[in-house]
């Protein structure tokens, strides 16, 4: 009898362990890829329990926020540097707090973080005309002053908002997972009719004069005007996750089948034939000089020239979903579950340094 009781208790514990282990949605531990930003002096990485500032000269850690891990703060939204010297970043965890940090010291700028949102922060905010426009997964766009105080009523857009808003200099464009692109006039907070793009939009639009280019799970890149008029600019073979990158008259984008595209906008034709490196592409393409960078889920980081020829390729030992960023002459990548948290490469593909947070 005792043995049977023990067996039942063991079965109970095994069941608990199995379900706990398979929980991909733990309420406190972030399980997704990091966010990365940089200026000429530092890289800023939001990865799990901390936001890290890293010296781009040598890859050493300058500070981390918070100093001690706290389950109320889990980070993966892309941090944003403002012109007035703030580093803005939202968090997951139990607090759903939105912070302003001092990029030099990692100390909080505001007397208290903004905690008015109901959902977690996945998207980076947009800073425009001395206002912070912060989209949240609760479907609201929050408007804050540069002091972190709410400057206007939140705008309910619907769906989870995962991507940073962009502006064409007049209007603000916010993409939602509920398939809609929202166009907001920041002068009066009014929104036009949402534009249905036929699929979830996890990536930001790319702003152009009087409108945006935006990709979605409908496997189409659409050009959307400020008046909401839209038309297909190109199609892909699979869903589009990342933002298109506009460089002059060329639009670079990729899809989850791992195809990379270069669209000549005036003619509407592709600049190169099918290029499919080695895995799904989530990260936005990055243009630096004459090189175009793509990163794949297989952990490969590619530099192509404008004809689509591969100039060099690096593997990182992880999966790259985070959009690479430029810091001076270096390009930084942040693999998810890689051998390191950040790697810096020069324009010839030579690795300058790597950064791995100390335990």
């Amino acid at each position: 009898m005792k043995m049977k009781r023990t067996t039942l208790v063991m079965l109970f514990l095994l069941g608990v362990l199995l379900l706990s282990a398979c929980s991909g949605n733990s309420r406190t531990i972030v399980n997704t890829w990091p966010g990365l930003a940089a200026d000429d002096a530092r890289a800023y990485l939001s990865a799990g329990s901390h936001v890290y500032a890293v010296d781009v000269k040598n890859g050493s850690e300058v500070w981390r926020y918070p100093a001690e891990a706290d389950n109320a703060m889990q980070f993966y939204a892309v941090p944003v540097l403002t012109a007035d010297g703030q580093l803005l970043v939202g968090s997951e965890g139990t607090g759903h707090a939105f912070f302003s940090l001092n990029p030099e010291t990692g100390k909080e700028n505001w007397t208290e973080p903004f905690t008015g949102a109901k959902g977690k922060w996945v998207a980076a905010p947009l800073v425009f005309n001395e206002r912070i426009y912060a989209p949240n997964t609760d479907g609201f766009l929050y408007t804050l002053g540069m002091d972190g105080k709410q400057a206007a009523d939140p705008i309910e857009l619907g769906g989870a908002l995962w991507s940073a808003p962009v502006t064409d200099g007049q209007f603000i464009y916010v993409a939602s997972l509920d398939h809609h692109l929202h166009i907001i006039d920041p002068a009066n907070g009014t929104t036009g009719d949402p534009v249905d793009l036929g699929g979830a939009i996890p990536g930001s639009p790319a702003a152009t004069e009087g409108g945006v280019y935006v990709g979605s799970f409908s496997s189409t890149v659409e050009i959307v005007g400020a008046n909401g008029q839209h038309e297909s600019a190109a199609t892909t073979t699979n869903w589009i996750w990342g933002s298109p990158t506009l460089d002059g008259n060329t639009l670079f984008y990729a899809d989850l089948s791992g195809n990379v595209y270069s669209l000549d906008i005036p003619s509407g034709s592709q600049n190169w034939g099918a290029i499919q490196p080695d895995g799904p592409i989530v990260a936005n393409p990055l243009v630096m000089g004459d090189q175009i960078y793509f990163a794949t889920e297989e952990g490969s980081f590619f530099a192509l020239d404008r004809d689509g020829k591969t100039l060099w390729q690096k593997t990182t030992g992880g999966k790259i979903y985070t959009t690479p960023v430029v810091s001076g002459t270096l390009v930084l990548v942040a693999p998810y579950q890689g051998d390191f948290a950040i790697a810096a490469y020069d324009g010839e593909g030579k690795q300058a340094w790597t950064f791995t947070p100390a335990k």
Partner: protein
Amino acid sequence: MWELFIIQPLTNLLLWIYDVLGHGPHMFGLAIILFTILIKLITWPLNASQVKGAQAMQELQNDKDWQEIQKKYAKDREKLAQEQMRIYKEKGINPFASCLPTLIQFPIIIGLYQSIIRALSATPLDMLKLARTVYPFQNVANIIPLNSKFLWMDLGRPESIAIFGFALPTLAIVVALTTYIQTKLTMPATTTPGDQSAAMSGMMSIYMPLLLGWFALNFASGIAVYFIVSNLLGIVQYAATGRANWNNLLPGGNKKAPAKK
């Protein structure tokens, strides 16, 4: 293997049902309910064999030959096991028949939990996994992301209702209650003093409601919906056989003879 044979089929089935239902508000909850009914229908023969197997095992406890070998080989476990196997063979009883449906339920529960979490895609990584899980012939671009609202619940999160400032986990209570009722109903009446099978069932009626209630309390409420519907169907199925021991729901009721039709 787990991904290929459990997660992908379950997730695609859920998405398909959700799509057929019109993918509006509350439809994912309905999809889970329909999914549960489907799983119950598929495992109906197994459950029936479980009932039959449990009944046969219970009747065996009163068998003279069985009782005799228990006494005769009480100190020789190896010989006892051999004799038990002989009797199983003679009477055509599969001793594992009553365990198999329960064992089959476990991967379904774990797989369903993972499928619900993946389908609801709370984080970018979950969404990316979902994108890869979808079968090519399923056109789900128009239904993603799924609407996780069902009645008052967010199916991707543990459920509770605030009552006087206290978060009451109503689903977890209903899960524990329906599990208790189901376990009690299927418990045979005790006719033999020191009956190990009945004692085991008695323990199950305590541990199982606690286990499933704990799951419902801590994990996505979608899994709690599955438990409740599954329990209710189990009760209906058992009642339909005419062997449900309703007296067991009363204190001391398991001492009485089961009602047979």
